[in-house]
Symmetry: D2
Amino acid sequence: MSQPTLTLGELRALMDQISFNRLLGLRLTRQHRDGVTVECPIREEYTNLHGTLHGGVTAALADVAAGFAVIAHARGRPVATVELKLNYLAPIHGRRVTARAHLIKAGSTLCVCAVDVFTEHRRLAAKALVTYMLLPAPLK
Amino acid sequence: MSQPTLTLGELRALMDQISFNRLLGLRLTRQHRDGVTVECPIREEYTNLHGTLHGGVTAALADVAAGFAVIAHARGRPVATVELKLNYLAPIHGRRVTARAHLIKAGSTLCVCAVDVFTEHRRLAAKALVTYMLLPAPLK
Amino acid sequence: MSQPTLTLGELRALMDQISFNRLLGLRLTRQHRDGVTVECPIREEYTNLHGTLHGGVTAALADVAAGFAVIAHARGRPVATVELKLNYLAPIHGRRVTARAHLIKAGSTLCVCAVDVFTEHRRLAAKALVTYMLLPAPLK
Amino acid sequence: MSQPTLTLGELRALMDQISFNRLLGLRLTRQHRDGVTVECPIREEYTNLHGTLHGGVTAALADVAAGFAVIAHARGRPVATVELKLNYLAPIHGRRVTARAHLIKAGSTLCVCAVDVFTEHRRLAAKALVTYMLLPAPLK
């Protein structure tokens, strides 16, 4: 796999440009050779009827982590999610949840990430496979 | 498939008890014999870099629509998402997006929904398969 | 969606060129405006420990049905499976099983099919979402 | 994760009882604490139009590897595939292909495996997530 072409600072600046990511409070905490780690605070309003993290937040977090793992290698091309698959393995409690995205295929058109979602006590709580497409030019 | 055991009013009351659904502004607009339709407003802060709906919102909406299709038939048992798969077919613009969930398997332990997500112009924008589990008793 | 560019006869000839499809005994029984129906005999050697159809045969059948729905619209471009998701809804018994693939997105690069798998008594036994890619030129 | 309750020999005997696995020539080559490795020969008749391994064989192999990782921990309970998701990452050539299944959740009802499929040159060629259900008693 080639080196990432964006720095952690550039990725963070991009994260903050995406309004839904700001709304959720997502933070890109680490950049790895093959991906990124993204953290999401667990706020009162992110919970479901069981008082645990809403599955929609977990899905959004996995999608974003995969997206940034792809963007880091995309050499400036815009990207779009093609499909997302998530297995929920354990309920998520606590103050924060993190997603570690691994870029497992970096193609010229399609990129695939495996994402592990962890509770703050490092329990594996969800596992995702996410496909992104590199677009030739900005979506309109 | 058996008749739903909750009314539209009861489902709506439940929708409003889930804080993340309230945060997104989700509204259960219709109940069908085999499922429900859930609507999500598209607010400025739900967009991504392309100015279209963030994939995480679409995933959350599909998860919630499937969940309520299951809850309507669950005879009071609590439910939890087992896994979710979503294909993004077209970018979503406009003022609102809707998800129509069809309960395609109503088992005693597992329920499966197929979900169609439509733009406000009734274009099919995403398609999901979502598995829920009926729990014996409330999650703690 | 545009008209298919291959006839039923051409699709059947192609089906017979693929050795694994011949091994399974797959037969393209119908062409629809938006897809195809493929039938698989259930032979003694396709069963699992329960005496029902092996999940791998169901997955192969769904993949092939989706592939032919795509090929019918691909104007001669070669295709490859990108990803496949299948929910098993009921055990499959009997003498044959059929898959009806619906092309729900026919893009210039990616095509997506929803596939319904039925028992010979027309019970919905599995549901799949399958993504194919149209390749610029033959794979080597 | 608890210790497996079946030995490699017992798993192999079971593999040979499943007629479709025998038809494909699947061989359980290794047992790991958290799963198994299953090998499939690549025969002439397993190929597609590109001369590479048919996607249906890869899917069947991933399903079987996951199934045996689950069976090894199932304490004699019968199992059934709930759902399967597979991303195809690279075409598969050569004489054999292997799948390494990791049991990532061993619940009392649901088990989830992550499966890596490798070419004979150890290139990651596909990645799967597979959910199995432990049944209370034999399927009829």
